[in-house]
Symmetry: C2
Subunit: 225 residues, 2 copies
């Protein structure tokens, strides 16, 4: 297919496709006679994957390139692919270092859940910096607060891993592992915002008139966002 057809099939504008090709995120098409280049199904799939990583996952071009490289390398193990996906979202993000106290608390939390982790797991720094941020505004999170987060993380992680076993081949499982790791953060962030609205309505009932009843929301087509 031509680039215009690739654009139509993948939903990405032609200028975006040219950008992806120039940045090496999408493999070149086959050059034909004249000025024409041919693309195939593998390009459609790849463009969709790149969009998921960049748009929904919010990855930088450099981070997306690293993640895609592990998917493209035939000799990478599942564990290597997993590690690349784990680091993708946190690499290159400007940030201050987490305090030792916050890291210790996260390590204790992981230990209490029985998680076997390695110190280089980017989750330690990410979670510990949140504790520092909360401390900076004078909030010391209770054990109940952190336990709720840890239990939720445990539940999600099990669902993520169970999903991998549904895939027909190791290559497809690796692809889902990468995309799932990156966009799963957005899924829980989105659902958390929906759940917040319910929890806020309970806590501050004065805003209640703006809320639809749950039953109508799932059934009335024109009420959908």
């Amino acid at each position: 297919m031509r680039i215009s057809e690739l654009s139509r099939r993948s939903g990405a504008p032609v200028t975006t496709l040219k950008y992806y090709l120039r940045e090496g995120l999408v493999h070149e098409g086959e050059r034909r006679s004249g000025n024409q280049t041919d693309y195939d199904e593998s390009h459609v799939q790849r463009v969709r994957l790149v969009r998921a990583l960049l748009d929904t996952g919010g990855l930088s071009i450099a981070a997306a390139r690293r993640v895609l490289a592990t998917l493209d390398a035939d000799d990478r193990s599942m564990a290597d692919t997993f590690e690349a996906a784990q680091h993708a979202m946190t690499d290159g993000r400007a940030h201050h270092e987490a305090s030792d106290a916050a890291r210790r608390r996260v390590a204790a939390l992981a230990g209490a859940q029985g998680w076997r982790t390695t110190p280089d797991n980017p989750g330690f720094d990410l979670a510990a910096r949140v504790l520092d941020d909360l401390a900076a505004i004078g909030y010391e999170p209770s054990d109940a607060y952190l336990d709720a987060y840890a239990a939720a993380a445990d539940r999600i992680a099990r669902a993520d891993l169970a999903a991998l076993t549904d895939r027909e081949s190791p290559a497809l499982a690796a692809e889902l592992m990468v995309v799932g790791t990156v966009v799963g953060d957005a899924l829980i962030a989105g659902l958390r915002r929906l759940a917040h609205q319910e929890a806020t309505a309970e806590l501050f009932p004065t805003t209640g008139d703006a809320h639809a009843a749950p039953a109508t929301h799932a059934t009335q087509r024109k009420d959908l966002p």
Copy 2:
């Protein structure tokens, strides 16, 4: 205090402080005679808050400014502040539109959890785009997968709201609501990475030699990340 002392207290370099001041994220200090400007505790607090929003939360300057404006306005209700925080992370992020089918599935998921939501909740689009991304790589999430995410989101949201009631004043509760909404995404993302390592170790036991036993991790000081 002088700007050098504000830098030491807040942990932000002087150039960063000047940038925050210029962008209007931090209020001006009091001009003294000569070339000197005085800062106080309110500046220390504000700089820490700005860093949490920008660094850990990954907000743009524009999004942080909008969120801070709702905190600064005396006449804003808790519900207004909440809405501003809800939208902060999703505003201005370049993305494609979610499909109707994905939105319907998210609406059904929210309905099944009994969440009262409004169609403008940014969580709908955020979560629905993830479903589209997964569909783009040929993965149709099972009900069990989505239910696990929704149940986790429900649990986290309740913990978030319970934390607000610990705060001594409405102003402090509003501050926690904003920071918690923004950095809470990073907290669950970090813990999810730690939980993934455990779940992956169970699924791919060959990588097991790299993992420490849970008990040692929480107790051995030098093993901490």
